[in-house]
Amino acid sequence: MTTTTAHPTATATAARAVDLSKVYGDGETRVVALDAVSVEFRAGEFTAIMGPSGSGKSTLMHCMAGLDTVSSGSARIGDTELSALKDKQLTKLRRDKIGFVFQAFNLLPTLTAAENITLPMDIAGRKADKQWLDRVVDTVGLSERLSHRPSQLSGGQQQRVAVARALASRPEIIFADEPTGNLDSRSGAEILGFLRNSVKELGQTVVMVTHDPVAASYADRVVFLADGRIVDELHGPTADTVLERMKRFDAKGRTS
């Protein structure tokens, strides 16, 4: 399957951080969550951000996705500098250019699966592209369950709805925050498969935060974060190579 023309070529940058810092608190309670992080997320690539708890991986994602403000440095989605945007513009940016998959609270319980999937477009007041929507729904295997409400779906199915929602509006980039954290391993594998397929077959760009080496092994590239800094990077990872690197940081962390 060829990539859609609407998407940039594989070499373009979908999002980029330059010297990005995030500091919480002041004086004695000062915590540096991100310490001058520079990283690039290439379009059409599936990147995993890994790191132990408190490494700043979620903060990095939040800053890149326009959910959190940065203390210094720059965060860009495509050509848009996020730190220059006001809340209203940020909201619009998230709506039009970014897709989200969270660990939990992904769906509105009052809406059907179909309504949840088209929610970002409904908010924008846009009509969904019917053909594209059908394709997305087929890809995640939800055609039979579109009229169900979240409470009638399993955890894995709910997360598939969330993935479909993220894909439906063809965002420039999808951020996934521990998307398999609440799922059993089979459902988790399914979700990760969809995310990978969306990159491979639909040309989507995906950035996923995870602490699970198996999940990270689905990505094209893994970025390792520790103490708010990027400490390593791995291309074409497997669960074993990722685990290997992780152990190294843990060991370092303990000896240092």
């Binding site: 709506r95 039009d96 509105l108 009052t110 908010i123 929602r165």
Partner: protein
């Protein structure tokens, strides 16, 4: 456990806020009412105690024809136990202000005889002498701006008098203390004006030191039969006691009326309290389960929730009590500025009021928290381990719906049955209405889905936010129901009252318009009878083509007392248009009369019947029923010819005069009538528009007072909506966070909450309007026997206003919750567990 409860209250301050406010408002209304009536009561009692402090025995006449003569006064004065006597005569005295308008309401403007500086200390000028001088009480002087030397226009039974003000006095007269006016004449003048020369209505006797009131009374009673038939003597103590009793009973009905509205507000508050505690318990499921797991008994859990309610109740009761004192002060100021005549004096705050405030606050709160507390105790300890968020229960709704349907049906049946009953219909209807309200309240969760679904087309233009708002509003049907019910109760009462009042007004208005062919109606502003010369003056006024005195005369007709209405037979056909089932107005002449159908039915009369009559002067005769008509507010009973009844009735009084002018009502005609009657302030000349205005103003005033009182219930309902929305926002933090993340901007979040608020408010309003109209329709059945042509009128304009108010309630209530929702930190909302 007490400490846990206290900690919980402190931890949930913000969320308990609306509950406290709701209870506080109700309590403040209760204590405000109590303080207000205590204040008025104590001021009135003080005034009456002062006015009786110098009266040991009061002698009053028993028969108008046998007033108290001067000789009796002299005789009493010579009794050994009597120190002094004050003999008085008094009566209604209308005075005009400088613009010629009547001062006061027509009832509390009095006149009397000047009895010396003891009772009436002169502040300025001197006592009145002769027939053309008066003294005026200082409060009225201040109010009207009259001073010594001014000429006062006044009237006692019709003719205008011009009196010179020679003095301004102060007085502790109860009527003046209550805001009335008092003018004093020289005794001889007053006797001529109010009674018979040389006689009095009342003699107040002051006892000599050492003389008991009872002894003096016994002495006086021996004198009475010789001088005045049927006169009686009462001790000052008795008078003061009786006055105190009268004040107490007057105030108690006032008290009851106000307190019942406070009760409605508190009742509405119960929904909010129950809602809040239900939510608090649901949110704390894990916490409470943990308590159970570590060994707390069910009872302890129940108690901990009830203690929280107790704390809330105490806080609300105490603050409500303080607010109530303020409300009492405001109430007095508002009533005074609205023209009510209230005594001065400090606010009377009694310990009992504080006790009542606390008891009501605590009682209502604990009562409302009872069910949630029991539900809390049922949480199994294992809930502490499970990670499942407390799911909304669906069980119990079947039972609830069945119960609600039964209650509503029973209520509706009673309402309809009561509506058709002749006696005790109002009791049955009232009971049915209560049952129906409760039934509908029980049913509201069921009703919420179809009603809110029906609102979908209205929400569609708002796109996804409208859709979300609609879905959210029916997510917790019980909570939405309780919130909407709070508003429903207030609106049901408001709508029912409005529809009934407007219907009555319209019907009476139409009746007056249909039955009255006259252009003007002339009456006394005081409701007394017009003096006979008024009718003559009117008949002779420029432009008057027809006029008739409508006279009240007592007769004995067919063996029973009957007040008949005398009219001038030749003219009446051109002044009135009545609906006759037999005959016509032409049948009123000579020995022929007409009666209304109600009287005919009551007395068993029929057209053509001849009845024996005995007039007041003893003359006997026979009258024939020449026609039967449909009675109304304007005229009813027996109508006969003035020419027949007046000569035999010395005490016949003119209730009103109907006037027709050449070419219809006009300003010129009205001016000529006013001039012909000497620009008299007490005589009211009204054209049809003014009659209908007067009627409207009475009904409007009553409605406005009721609106004001019911506004409290609506205000409490607003707090309920705020409460529910705040809870929803809190519970849906994650969802709102997610929505914000995927692109819903702040304005849209606000709009979503606002729309949800509007949906809930309109739901309550629609139920309230529906029930209100239904109850009003039922009440119509009770009114029809008294007002046969009563027809229900739906005041669409007002119903529109009520809907607008519901919308306003929705928007206002959403202000704070919507702001909170929009300000939610997206990250925290999605991160939080």
């Amino acid at each position: 456990m007490f400490r846990t409860a206290l900690r919980n209250v402190l931890a949930h301050k913000a969320r308990l806020m609306m509950t406290v406010l709701a209870v506080m408002l109700g309590v403040s209304f209760v204590s405000g009412t109590l303080v207000f009536t205590d204040t008025i009561g104590s001021a009135l009692r003080k005034a009456s105690a002062r006015s009786y402090s110098d009266v040991a025995v009061a002698v009053t006449y028993g028969d108008v024809d046998h007033p108290l003569p001067q000789r009796l006064v002299d005789e009493i004065g010579r009794l050994p136990g009597a120190e002094s006597t004050t003999a008085t005569v008094s009566g209604f005295t209308a005075i005009a202000d400088k613009e010629g308008r009547l001062v006061g309401d027509g009832w509390s403007t009095r006149g009397g005889n000047y009895t010396g500086t003891g009772r009436y200390p002169m502040l300025e000028g001197r006592a009145p002498h002769g027939s053309s001088e008066v003294a005026l009480d200082s409060r009225t002087a201040e109010r009207t701006g009259y001073t010594v030397g001014d000429t006062l226009r006044m009237s006692i039974d019709g003719p205008v008098m011009r009196q010179k003000v020679t003095g301004v006095f102060s007085t502790d007269d109860g009527n003046v203390a209550a805001g009335g006016s008092l003018v004093l004449f020289e005794t001889a003048t007053a006797q001529k004006l109010f009674g018979k020369p040389g006689s009095y209505e009342e003699i107040d006797v002051k006892a000599a030191p050492g003389t008991a009131q009872a002894t003096l009374k016994a002495g006086i009673e021996k004198l009475l039969p010789r001088y005045a038939k049927d006169a009686s003597a009462t001790t000052g103590q008795n008078l003061a006691d009786e006055e105190a009793r009268r004040i107490a009973s007057d105030l108690s009905s006032f008290n009851t009326a106000l307190l019942s509205f406070a009760g409605i507000a508190l009742f509405v508050g119960i929904f909010i309290i129950a809602n809040t505690f239900t939510m608090l318990v649901a949110q704390r499921t894990k916490e409470l389960a943990l308590l159970r797991a570590v060994g707390a008994s069910r009872r302890q859990v129940t108690r901990s929730v009830l203690v929280e309610a107790l704390v809330v109740g105490v806080v609300a009761g105490a603050t409500g009590f303080l607010l109530g004192i303020g409300i009492a002060a405001v109430m007095r100021a508002v009533l005074a500025s609205a023209g009510a005549l209230l005594p001065d004096g400090a606010l009377a705050v009694q310990p009992g009021t504080a006790g009542a405030a606390l008891a009501v606050g605590v009682g209502v709160t604990v009562l409302a928290a009872w069910l949630p507390a029991r539900r809390a105790a049922k949480i199994p300890p294992v809930a502490a381990m499970s990670s499942v968020h407390a799911p909304a229960t669906v069980k119990g709704l079947l039972l609830r719906n069945t119960l609600g349907a039964l209650l509503s049906a029973a209520g509706a049946v009673l309402v309809v049955a009561g509506s058709g009953m002749k006696d005790n219909g109002n009791m049955v209807l009232g009971g049915g209405a209560g049952l129906l309200l409760i039934g509908v309240f029980v049913l509201t969760p069921l009703l919420s889905r179809p009603v809110v679904a029906a609102a979908a087309p209205l929400l569609r233009p708002f796109g996804v936010t409208g859709n979300l708002a609609r879905q959210n509003s029916v997510r917790n049907p019980r909570r939405t129901a309780a919130t909407a019910s709070a508003l429903m109760i207030g609106l049901t009462l408001i709508t029912a009252l409005t529809v009934v009042a407007i219907s009555v007004k319209t019907t009476v208005d139409e009746l007056a318009a249909a039955h009255l062919k006259a252009d003007y109606q002339i009456t006394m502003a005081t409701g007394q009878n017009l003096s006979p010369e008024v009718a003559e003056k009117v008949a002779g006024a420029d432009g008057v083509s027809d006029s008739s005195a409508v006279r009240d005369a007592h007769t004995e007709l067919d063996g029973e007392d009957e007040w008949v209405t005398g009219v001038d037979a030749p003219q009446i056909g051109r002044l009135l248009a009545l609906d006759f089932s037999h005959g016509s107005l032409a049948a009123v002449h000579g020995e022929s009369m007409v009666v209304d159908s109600d009287t005919a039915e009551r007395r068993g009369w029929h057209a053509g019947q001849s009845l024996p009559v005995r007039y007041d002067d003893g003359t006997k005769g026979r009258l024939t029923i020449g026609g039967v008509f449909e009675g109304g507010d304007l005229i009813n009973g027996v109508i006969m010819d003035n020419a027949t009844v007046t000569p035999h009735t010395p005490k016949a009084g003119d209730m009103r005069i109907l006037v027709k002018t050449a070419g219809g009502a006009s300003e010129a005609h009205q001016d000529s009538l006013v001039k012909a009657l000497g620009e008299n302030p007490v005589i009211k000349i009204q054209d049809k528009a003014a009659i209908s205005r007067e009627l409207s103003s009475t009904i409007d005033l009553m409605l406005n007072i009721l609106y004001g009182l019911l506004a409290m219930a609506v205000l409490v309902a607003v707090l309920g909506v705020i409460n529910t929305l705040a809870m929803s926002v809190f519970e849906r933090k994650h969802e709102i966070g997610m929505l914000r993340a995927i692109g819903l901007d702040r304005a849209a979040v606000k709009r979503m909450i606002r729309l949800e608020s509007l949906v809930i408010s309109f739901f309550g309003a629609v139920l309230g309007l529906g029930l209100g109209v239904f109850l009003a329709w039922a009440v119509g059945g009770l009114i029809r026997p008294d007002l046969p042509s009563y027809a229900m009128v739906l005041p669409w304009d007002r119903i529109g206003v009520f809907l607008a108010i519901a919308a306003l309630v929705g928007v206002l209530a959403a202000l704070w919750p919507a702001r909170r929702a929009a300000r939610l930190n997206v990250l925290e909302a999605i991160k939080a567990e």
